[in-house]
């Protein structure tokens, strides 16, 4: 049985667990072992799913059917624009951005005015949203306690106030540990990721319980709903709300980046850009999972509580409770608590940084009482301001919650907040991609958009709540019809969100563009525009130093750092800076532009870029460069970059040319080596017959008593060797002529069939002598090619002579086959000899390489026949190769292309 104290204890225990997770995360970060992985980062993005998702989606689905999905489809689509987010992160890291206000202010010349405006808009837009979270927590506690029939009160304070106090304590403890707002709050991020898992598990558990426990599954639930006309409507897309769908998808897509808490988590807390690769699909998957059971829960609640006055926003709790599933209801309560606390903690931390840096600090710096200058260490004061801002924001949220009650202004605040932060979009996107965007344009755009949002959305919500008169909504301001707040200039028929989004964006973008085009940026703006728009190409090392000129005292700069960061932190950062510049001590470094840049960046991390600039300017005698000079420097930097890219391209070309030359050189060396080998082999081949001729001639010359028979035998050998020598020299000359391109060719129409038959006739006697069978399958006509007849004859005779040499006498068989296919005449000379190994198949076409074992067998030819044959065939556009395997004979094949119009028919067997 639930009791008030038990619920309170459970909530306290859960928050204690969150403390433990956050403490663990911070301890690991302090030890240099970050627990922020890609998965943790992606899950922490789910801080987007507040109690408005956890409880409110079901409520929205009971009236709008599937339209609740728009709030989650927008973020899915926006995350696909990963390049935009990476650019935002890269700029933020380079400029040490602490918040969305700081981002916009920094881009437009570190403007305190812009930073303040963004902060005010964010606070006005988001504080009621925090109130909504407190309301959700209060409502969930009420549901549980109403069921238990009792309540809990401590010192007369209600549970929501106590919860707000605990959340303020948590946010202060884990959100303001360090002064440097650009430092990550890893403990807080870990706790938020943990909460994301809890709320997903809790919501899905309730969804499964209702869908499969109370009903017979999704099919059963939907069928029962479709039986009712009212509920069946929720299952269809309402074409009348198509405009709302578009507007809500755009709005939620912008909110996922521009809500202060989302900017904090996505940009400021990002430790590694590559984590976005996981977030780009894991976060949308999370959104899909948490939404699967929203419609089933809405239908289940409507079917179950038909005719009863149960608030649909509480179905997640009431459905398990009425069926006695108290443990599940408690899990749902913890899930809702996670959704609300996660949002409140991150939002208050983000807003407190903005309030401190962009509202309070500028006021303090301008205070006439030298309040700031009197204190030697301001770090404690800054932390105090941030902590007070957290408490104040939560207190404001609590007051709004108490004042609004069930008023429309609170119920509708989710989308109203989205529309408020959407006003940052033109200045943000314009600042990142459009160098001509100016501070004046951004101020005009923001102001115009904010005023229109206020007039068309926030004030009408107050009017609907009965807080202010509703005349400006119904009759128009001062009774002027075309100034009706929600039908401005006669644009009627839209829902209030689409109407406000349309007019506010038109005013915002229009003012931003028109004023930007008609105003000139100052020097700081121009240089910041370059840094933001060209963040991936900006050469900070060479350009930064030239963009600042003046005199600065190192002691004054360090004094500034010590006052705002604290002596310990300042010393630590100075030591790191000196080490990066390869100096033992910062005192050895000059107070040059780089030092000033470093000091300003460090200060920006603590007090925001706008205040940091003011503080640095107060201790440094900065020379005003003027817009023209800054533009010249930036232009020069751009040209240097372009030249650098050209040089890089040229270097690549040079490297490629060098590689080609090296390759050509290698080829030349290889050819040189082959030439040496060739000469060596030729010399060897010539010397063998010459040695034989010389030896036998000497014997004949020196010994006159030799028998006649011996003399004849010796002379026969001498004649044979001389013939072989002649043949060898002829072939070498022939090959040399071919390779040098000096060979003479007589090209004409040649009937290859006739050439084959003639060749076979020529070598017939040779075959007969050895007892080798020779036959052929040669078409009678039609195999006419354009070639040199004598050369093709040479190829055929060479192949036939080789075949007869290597087959066995008596059993040897050689078969010649001719045919035409695919525009080629194919000639095959197949034998049943010993065959060739795979290696031999390739080497026999090299010069002086022969088949068989050349170490043991006497060479039977010059070793040039096949290389010459291949040269001939290739000269006429054909190929020569061999197909063989050991023991399976050899099949020498060559092809010669047919003339284009050649026709082949008729075959004859010899």
């Amino acid at each position: 049985m639930l009791s008030g104290w038990f619920v309170a204890l459970l909530a306290t225990a859960y928050l204690g667990l969150l403390f433990a997770v956050a403490r663990f995360g911070d301890a690991r970060a302090d030890a240099g072992k970050s627990i922020i992985s890609a998965n943790v980062y992606a899950l922490s993005l789910a801080v987007y799913c507040t109690s408005w998702t956890f409880y409110g989606s079901v409520g929205r689905a009971t009236s709008g059917g599937l339209s609740f999905l728009t709030i989650y489809l927008g973020p899915t689509l926006m995350l696909l624009c990963v390049g935009v987010i990476i650019k935002m992160i890269r700029i933020s890291k380079a400029q040490r951005i602490t918040s969305i206000a700081d981002f916009i202010a920094s881009r437009y010349g570190k403007s305190q005015l812009l930073a303040g405006m963004v902060t005010v808009i964010a606070v006005i837009g988001v504080v009621p949203y925090i109130a909504l979270q407190l309301k959700a927590m209060a409502a969930s506690v009420d549901v549980l306690l109403a069921h238990a029939g009792n309540g809990v009160e401590v010192w007369g304070l209600d549970s929501t106030f106590l919860m707000a106090v605990v959340l303020a304590f948590f946010s202060i403890l884990f959100g303001t540990r360090h002064l440097d707002a650009t430092e990550r709050h890893e403990g807080m991020v870990a706790a938020v990721a943990f909460e994301s898992v809890v709320k997903l598990v809790a919501f899905m558990a309730v969804g499964l319980f209702v869908t499969y426990g109370l009903f017979g599954g999704l099919g059963d639930l939907f069928q029962r709903a479709s039986a009712s006309a009212d509920l069946g409507r929720l299952l269809e897309l309402d074409s009348g709300r198509a405009g709302t769908w578009s507007a809500l998808i755009i709005l939620s897509g912008l909110a996922i980046i521009f809500l202060p808490r989302q900017f904090q988590i996505i940009v400021v807390e990002n430790v590694d850009e590559s984590h976005l690769k996981r977030a780009v699909w894991l976060f949308p998957l999370y959104l899909l999972l948490i939404n699967i059971f929203v419609l089933p829960l809405a239908l289940g609640g409507l079917l179950h509580f038909d005719g009863q006055s149960v608030n649909p926003d509480t179905f997640v709790l009431t459905l398990p409770l009425v069926h006695g599933a108290e443990a599940l209801a408690l899990l749902a309560f913890i899930g809702g608590l996670s959704a609300a606390t996660g949002m409140v903690i991150v939002e208050t931390i983000a807003l407190s940084t903005m309030v401190c840096n962009d509202l309070v600090m500028p006021i303090l710096l301008r205070s006439t009482g030298n309040f700031v200058e009197k204190r030697s260490d301001l770090s404690g004061l800054l932390l105090g301001i941030r902590r007070a801002a957290i408490a104040l924001i939560l207190l404001l949220g609590y007051i709004y919650f108490r004042a609004a009650g069930e008023a429309y202004a609170l119920v509708a605040i989710g989308l109203i907040s989205f529309a408020a932060v959407a006003q940052f979009a033109p200045a943000m996107f314009g600042g990142m991609y459009w160098k001509q965007g100016t501070r004046a344009g951004a101020v005009a755009g923001l102001l115009a958009g904010f005023v229109v949002w206020l007039y068309t959305l926030l004030l009408p919500s107050f009017a609907k709540s009965g807080w202010i008169p509703s005349g400006f909504v119904e009759q128009g301001l001062f009774g002027i019809g075309w100034l009706k707040a929600q039908a401005l200039f006669g644009l009627a028929g839209l829902d209030e969100i689409s109407h406000s989004l349309w007019w506010s964006m038109l005013a915002n973008i229009g003012a931003y563009v028109v004023v930007s085009l008609n105003s000139r940026p100052d020097a700081v703006e121009a240089s910041q525009a370059e840094r933001f728009v060209d963040v991936f190409r900006f050469d900070s090392r060479n350009t930064e130093a030239r963009l600042w000129r003046g005199k600065a005292s190192p002691d004054a700069l360090v004094g500034l750092l010590e006052r705002f960061l604290g002596a310990a932190r300042a010393g630590q950062q100075l030591a790191a800076y000196a080490a990066a510049r390869k100096a033992g001590n910062w005192r050895n470094l000059p107070a040059d532009a780089e030092f000033v840049q470093f000091a300003e960046a460090e200060l920006a991390g603590a007090i925001g870029s706008a205040s940091a600039r003011v503080m640095v300017a107060s201790v440094a005698q900065e020379e005003d460069l003027g817009l023209e000079e800054v533009l010249d420097i930036l232009d020069e930097a751009t040209q240097v970059r372009a030249h650098s890219r050209e040089l890089e391209a040229k270097q690549h070309e040079l490297e490629a040319a060098t590689a080609e030359l090296r390759e050509a050189n290698e080829r030349l060396r290889e050819l040189d080596r082959m030439k040496d080998d060739f000469i060596s082999t030729v010399t060897h081949e010539l010397r063998t017959p010459l040695t034989s001729i010389r030896a036998l001639s000497e014997m004949l010359h020196e010994d006159p008593r030799l028998e006649l028979a011996d003399r004849r035998r010796f002379l026969g050998i001498i004649v044979n060797e001389a013939e072989r020598l002649t043949r060898l020299i002829n072939q070498i000359l022939d090959l040399a002529r071919m390779e040098s391109g000096r060979a003479e060719w007589t090209t004409g129409e040649v009937d290859l069939g006739e050439v084959a038959r003639e060749s076979m006739a020529t070598v017939e006697q040779l075959f007969r002598d050895k007892g080798v069978a020779l036959d052929g399958d040669i078409p009678a006509s039609g195999l006419v090619v354009l070639a040199d007849r004598d050369r093709l004859m040479q190829v055929m005779i060479n192949l036939l002579s080789n075949a007869v040499k290597f087959v066995a006498g008596g059993t040897g068989q050689v078969h010649v086959n001719l045919g035409a296919a695919a525009g080629l005449v194919r000639v095959e000379v197949r034998d049943n000899g010993p065959g060739l190994t795979t290696e031999e198949c390739s080497v026999i076409f090299e010069k002086f390489r022969q088949g068989g074992n050349t170490m043991t067998d006497k060479p039977q030819g010059t070793g040039l026949g096949l290389p010459i044959s291949r040269q001939i065939v290739e000269y006429f556009g054909g190929n020569l190769w061999v197909e063989s395997a050991p023991g399976a004979g050899a099949n020498f094949i060559f092809t010669v292309p047919l003339p284009a119009s050649e026709d082949n028919n008729g075959r004859q067997t010899k």
Partner: protein, 54 residues
């Protein structure tokens, strides 16, 4: 004025693409279609993002 007209058409559009009607195992086709396309988009994003290595 042209941009005004075009953009207002987008935001204020009455056009809703015709989605498949009917049902499958009792579940409305519209519901399956929306979640199916959404899941497909997520799967595609995961494939593209994760295949490029670290």
């Amino acid at each position: 004025m042209v941009a005004h007209k075009v953009a207002s058409r987008v935001v204020a559009s009455d056009y809703m693409p015709s989605l498949p009607g009917g049902e499958w195992s009792g579940i409305p086709a519209t519901y399956l279609y929306l979640f199916g396309v959404w899941a497909g988009l997520i799967a595609l994003a995961a494939w593209v993002a994760e295949r490029r290595g670290p």
